[in-house]
Amino acid sequence: MARAADGRDVIVASNLSRTFRRADRQMVTALDDVTFGIDRGQFVCLVGPSGCGKSTLLKLIAGLMLPSSGALEVEGESVTQPGPERGMVFQQDSVFPWLRVIDNVEYGLKCRGVGRAERRKSAEFYLERVGLSHVARAWPRELSGGMLKRVAVATVFANGANVLLLDEPFGAVDYVTKRNLHDVLLALWTEAGSTERRTVVFVTHDVDEALILADRILVMHSGRIVDDLAVTAPRPRTTDGLMEPTMVRHKHVLLAHLGLENLQGDAKAPTGGEGTEP
């Protein structure tokens, strides 16, 4: 369903599958023969009901898991293990509680032998960008859930990853905090300028979140990519913008894929095949 890869792609998946053996020895297919390519600098959201394989796909790209069959390349290289060029923000709190906030942001740079002054400068810069300079020396336990997410975002940006993988990162925070986090993330992503932007793959089941963030939305269902929407609305996007006719149409399509409403009006059928590509 999703268009095949071409030369410009950063992430290329061909016939990618992943199966698991459950405790009752049944084989479960989490990812079923998926083929797609993702452009450099694109903000892609993976949307689908829980259990559709979107987190599995993200873990494969991160290298935290290996495919059962098929090929996966990032920047032309086959993915065999995690690497700092692919940063990940997890759904759970991943900030190390035994390091102070600023030491968390520096962690990856320190692991790779970046000098003290340089990594401190970078960490301070990104902490400032996510609005957490005032808690640089605090322990993570002293921070709220939303602040911990900001630390995680600052950490992957400071680490210099070209590809950012976010696995329902803001799923557990309240609505207001979530909107603020979107602003923080988009500001960091856009400020690089369109030629040097990092590629983002963002997993969510929140339709509005996907419409506000994404250039492109890949819809997953039962281990397959079943739709591929291009969201061309201008940025920055607002709540009003979500009421534009094209956005409403996208939303109907997405909700239908999630099984929440039957398609009406001019929205297309979820299994119709054409998708809404440009």
Partner: protein, 290 residues
């Protein structure tokens, strides 16, 4: 001064409990007057402990520093008694802490080897799990024949006793490290060695606190066990020597000295670990304020 008074007030109940325990001992000594051998009460009262018994410890002073030993014909003296306590204590404490250090280090490394890779697991896990089940005190005579009755034998014994506890503690604690932290470190570019140093070790420390406290206790038992059988010095040697003459009061004093040392080492460890655990949410937690 103000600080002292505040401390005293805060610990008033504990101090009273301590005095009560000493009082009960004193009462017991007057009620229960049986003697192990003539002149050696089963429950020596404090008036005996702090005079005759203390003085008698100079019997274990081996001479030197210009203070002649009883064996050389000198009379018992408090100075010789004090020196003898210090001398034997130093021997025991050095054996204890060198053994603890080596055992803790080796046990921890082996424990981490179990999770390092499938190969290291296969090599380490079963043998150490088997060694772990050997009863510690049954091993004392064997260790003496294998490693000799001198320093090395005792260190080896303490190291073994403590090492198996550290091993079990580390294996268990590593299993409980949340996968999310390891995944996070991996995606940030940490190598396996770096993950062990910067994620596994700090993450297991809160759980290892209990293991370390336990190993301090086992360490004391092990070093005494080693000294009971074939040592020419150390607090365990004083106890076993006293036992031959049914000197209950001397054994009692040595036991009190143990309590003193153990309390100090627990207090030091407590301070140290509190510093290292500033980051935990439980830092300084009290279940309910009364």
């Amino acid at each position: 001064m103000k600080w002292l008074i505040a401390q005293f007030r805060r610990r008033l109940v504990s101090i009273l409990m301590l005095l009560a325990m000493a009082g009960i001992w004193q009462i017991l000594s007057t009620i229960y007057t049986a003697e192990a051998v003539p002149g050696e009460p089963m429950v020596p009262g404090w008036q005996i402990v702090f005079s005759r018994t203390l003085l008698s410890l100079s019997d274990y002073w081996q001479g030197g520093l210009g203070v002649p030993s009883v064996a050389e014909g000198a009379p018992q003296s408090y100075l010789a008694a004090l020196l003898s306590i210090l001398d034997h204590s130093v021997d025991t404490i050095v054996r204890l802490y060198v053994g603890l250090l080596i055992g803790g280090l080796v046990g921890s490394l082996l424990g981490m080897a179990v999770s390092w890779s499938p190969w290291t697991r296969r090599i380490v896990d079963l043998p150490v799990q088997l060694l772990r089940t050997l009863p510690l005190l049954a091993m004392v005579p064997m260790f003496q024949l294998w490693f000799g009755i001198d320093f090395v034998g005792k260190i080896a014994f303490v190291g073994y006793g403590v090492g198996v506890i550290f091993f079990a503690g580390v294996v268990n604690a590593v299993k409980n490290v949340p996968q999310i932290y390891i995944d996070n470190a991996r995606t940030l570019g940490a190598s396996r060695l770096q993950i062990y140093r910067t994620v596994v070790m700090p993450a297991i420390f809160p759980e290892m606190r209990g293991t370390i406290l336990l190993s301090l206790g086992i360490g004391w038992a092990a070093v005494l066990g080693a000294e009971y059988l074939g040592a020419q010095s150390g607090l365990g040697y004083v106890i076993i020597y006293s036992e031959q003459f049914a000197y209950l009061d001397r054994m009692f004093v040595v036991a009190l000295i143990f309590v003193f040392y153990a309390s100090i080492s627990y207090a030091i460890f407590d301070r140290l670990s509190r510093r290292l655990l500033q980051w935990t949410p439980q830092a300084g937690r009290v279940v309910a304020h009364g």
